[in-house]
């Protein structure tokens, strides 16, 4: 059962990392236009290079 000593902290750290990442996405307005983003990915305009 000593493996729990590693696994539990690891699961908590991973979970916290996920949460922090989510907080980052909210702060950078990544949920403002879900509909448009879903369509933009099919757009060929910026396939070769990113938007200037």
């Amino acid at each position: 059962m000593s493996v729990l000593g590693y696994l539990i902290p690891i699961s908590l750290v991973l979970g916290t990392a996920g949460l922090l990442f989510f907080v980052f996405t909210v702060r950078t307005n990544q949920y403002d236009d879900p509909e448009g983003d879903a369509r933009r990915i099919l757009n060929k305009d910026y396939d070769d290079r990113p938007k200037p």
Binding site: G15, L19, G36
Partner: protein
């Protein structure tokens, strides 16, 4: 600022422009930031190709540095050099085939930094993270962890659960406290009781190294409830912000004339006695008396009359009327809140207070539900304590009952459906402003339409031309080309489309308020009002063509139907609803329109009060009335009706009074909206049934003491997910 600037300068000046020029500069510097951010509403955008077309097209407008389309909100945000105006961008969007309206960027920025929404989302995310982690530990316990391992898991769960609930549960705690203080029971009271009791019993079980802890249940509960609340908030916030932005559509500016110098000022700066210049195409900003100029004015937004009215010095005009042909100078007699525009808007407030408070399905459910939950839990506790005398066991069972009955599915039942339905309607160009509008819309059995501006586009269309010879047609075209009057423009369009060539009329000039005049083959020719050409006016909207020495010829006009108007009326009638036409316009025009659309019941020359009274009478007969209207004369009726819709082109008073705003010009989504609303109401009721069934199965289990944390978690999650999926079927 321009007022101060004018005050500091000497009143007597050799050159009036010297006064105007610096203040005009001031104005420009103040109104334009370093880089203009312009927001446009683009109701027609719906696909990936629309994004590329619009972004590329708008970026080609000189001065535009960046254009980004938001498809979810059907909006385009443009960064551009200060000299770029919204009008040029709107023209560009029109050129690409999209309707566009300017939105007030100031209001927009305010709604973008939506603190409350982010706050809820953060709490939701934390609750989600915590419940997943605790669930992981709980699964190990359920699959057989024993002794010290189980205790350790329970302690870790407790360490996660307490801070999480302290943070994520705050909205519920705040609401429950408010309800407690006002001695009223709302949905949040049983929620908070369940959460707190679950935490307390779980903690005491953990301390005594017991078998069951409900930390995971308390957390998933908070997670699902927050999800429901967030959906609810989002639907409302989007509708509210969009409605506010629409309200800012009309940028209120007026041209004030001081000692011969013109200055553009904000309407709020106007005072009684000011001289105001209203150019052709402009809207009267104040009530006043005409002191110079002749023209025709369009009063349709105030009265519903489709025919332009002659205007000359000495005549009174009201705010909201549109000047058509010649420049007019007014002396303001009432400004701001005192204008007739605002007085009619006050009618709305009166009508609204008369509208019976509608109890939404969710409120009704909550009112029944909250006391039931408490009674069940209390009975379970009392029963078990009486039977066994074991307080710890009884308390555990009571908390299990509270958790099981906690209205997870119920909290999701309505918001999930309204979110799906509003999303679906938004895609069709309808904006739901009021939370209960969908439920009310589903009950509608009578639909009342306004005519001018609602069923018609407010643009005249040339009627029969067969009685005009080729010579008259080419004369009419030549004369109509000299004027920007709506009737002239319609005539010009129709004649050009027929391939008529203009006659060689010389010396053409417009006589504002009357018509256009010219010389053809040595004879005077005129196109204009009946009296001016020496004819007797008839009931129809008409322009008259006269050639000196011959009797004048009448050219009649009808109002052009809005796209989708015929379809909407047909679909509504096909669904068994009564359609009524009510207008302030003349009997002839209304009867013709009713006949054209196949509407059998109509009311003409209705005053604003008449419309509202008629609707009130219909509702007194037990009818549920949907009012569709745009004018100021409709606002009282819009507020009095069970539910109301107004187009985006309506005056802001009308939009404020209505529950739903139609973003595009097409009317056909109205019939579909009622259908969607019916489906949504059916889904809400189904969801309530599902939640009830779940309780019927789970509550006896909990009361019997058979409900382990595993069963609680399964029951709660599955019911919430089923309810959400049922709502998603609506998309």
């Amino acid at each position: 600022m321009s007022v101060e600037a004018a005050n500091f300068r000497p009143a007597i000046s050799a050159c009036p422009a010297c006064i105007a020029a610096p203040s005009a500069e001031d104005m420009a510097a103040r109104a334009l930031p370093k880089e203009a951010r312009i927001a446009l509403s683009v109701p027609g955008a719906h696909c990936g190709a629309c994004i590329s077309t619009l972004e590329r097209g708008l970026a080609q407008v000189p001065g535009v540095t960046d254009a980004r389309v938001n498809l979810t909100l059907k909006r385009a945000l443009i960064s551009a050099a200060p000299h770029v105006t919204a009008d040029s961008l709107i023209a560009a969007a029109r050129g690409l085939g999209y309707e566009a309206y300017e939105l007030d960027a100031g209001t927009l920025m305010a709604t973008q930094q939506d603190k409350a929404g982010r706050d809820l989302l953060m709490r939701l995310a934390v609750a989600g993270f915590a419940s997943m982690n605790v669930m992981l530990l709980s699964v190990s316990v359920w699959s057989g962890a024993e002794g010290a391992t189980r205790d350790l898991f329970h302690w870790i769960s407790a360490a996660i659960a307490f801070p999480t609930i302290a943070f994520s549960g705050q909205p519920f705690f705040a609401n429950a406290l408010k309800a407690w203080q006002t001695k009223r029971l709302n949905m949040d009271v049983p929620i908070v009781m369940a959460i707190l009791l679950a935490l307390a019993t779980s903690l005491s079980e953990t301390i005594q190294s017991g078998h069951h802890a409900y930390f995971d249940a308390a957390l998933t509960l908070v997670f699902f409830l927050l999800a429901g609340r967030y959906l609810d908030y989002r639907t409302r916030a989007i509708a509210r912000s969009a409605a506010q932005e629409l309200a800012a559509l009309e940028v209120p500016r007026a041209v004030r004339v001081t000692d011969g110098a013109e200055a553009t000022v904000s309407v709020s700066e106007l005072r009684v006695g000011d001289m105001i210049l209203v150019r052709p195409g402009g809207r009267m900003p104040v009530d006043g008396e005409i002191v110079a100029g002749t023209s025709e004015i369009d009063r349709s937004l105030l009265t519903g009359e489709s025919r332009p009215v002659f205007a000359a010095p000495g005549q009174m005009v009201s705010a909201g009327e549109v000047n058509l042909t010649g420049p007019l100078t007014l002396r303001a007699s009432a400004v701001g809140q005192d204008t007739s525009l605002h007085r009619i808007a006050d009618l709305v407030a009166i009508a609204e207070s008369g509208r019976s408070r509608y109890t939404s399905l969710a409120d009704m459910a909550a009112r029944l539900y909250a006391p039931m939950v408490h009674i069940f839990a209390a009975v379970a506790f009392a029963g078990w304590y009486y039977a066994t005398g074991d307080a710890r066991l009884s308390l555990n069972i009571a908390s299990a009952v509270l958790i099981i009955t906690c209205p997870c599915a119920l909290a999701l039942a309505v918001p999930a459906v309204t979110t799906a339905a509003s999303g679906r309607l938004f895609k069709r160009g309808l904006l739901i402003k009021d939370a209960t509008a969908l439920e009310r819309l589903a009950q509608v059995d009578t639909v009342v339409f306004d005519k001018t501006g609602t069923l018609t586009a407010g643009v005249p269309e040339v009627g029969d031309l067969t009685h005009l010879g080729t010579r008259d047609l080419s004369l009419a075209l030549a004369l109509s080309r000299a004027s920007a009057h709506p009737l002239s423009m319609a005539l010009r369009q129709a004649l050009t489309a027929r391939g008529v060539t203009p006659a060689a009329v010389t010396d053409i000039h417009e006589v504002p308020g009357y018509g256009t005049e010219g010389t053809w083959a040595g004879r005077r020719v005129r196109l204009g009002r009946a009296q001016w050409v020496g004819a007797d006016a008839t009931a129809a909207t008409a322009a008259w063509l006269s050639v000196a020495g011959e009797p004048p010829v009448e050219i009649t006009f009808t109002d052009r139907l809005r796209p989708g108007a015929a379809e909407a009326v047909t679909a509504l009638k096909a669904s068994g609803r009564t359609v009524i036409l009510m207008s302030g316009d003349s009997t002839g025009a209304v009867a013709a329109m009713a006949d054209r659309l196949g509407i059998t019941q109509w009311l003409a020359e209705a005053l604003p009060g008449d419309k509202a009274a008629r609707i009130a009478a219909l509702q007194a007969q037990g009818k549920r009335v949907l009012m569709v209207g745009d004018g100021l004369n409709d606002t009282a009726a819009l507020a009095a009706a069970h539910v109301s819709i107004s187009p985006a082109s309506a005056l802001d008073a009308a939009r404020v009074a209505s529950d739903i705003v139609l973003l595009g010009t097409d009317l056909s989504p109205i019939a579909e909206a009622i259908h969607t609303a019916e489906m949504a109401t059916r889904r809400i009721k189904q969801n309530f049934m599902l939640a009830k069934m779940y309780n019927l199965v789970a509550v006896p289990l909990a009361v019997a003491g058979l409900c382990s944390p595993l069963i609680a978690a399964l029951a709660m999650s599955s019911s919430s997910i089923i309810v959400s999926l049922n709502a998603l079927r609506l998309r």
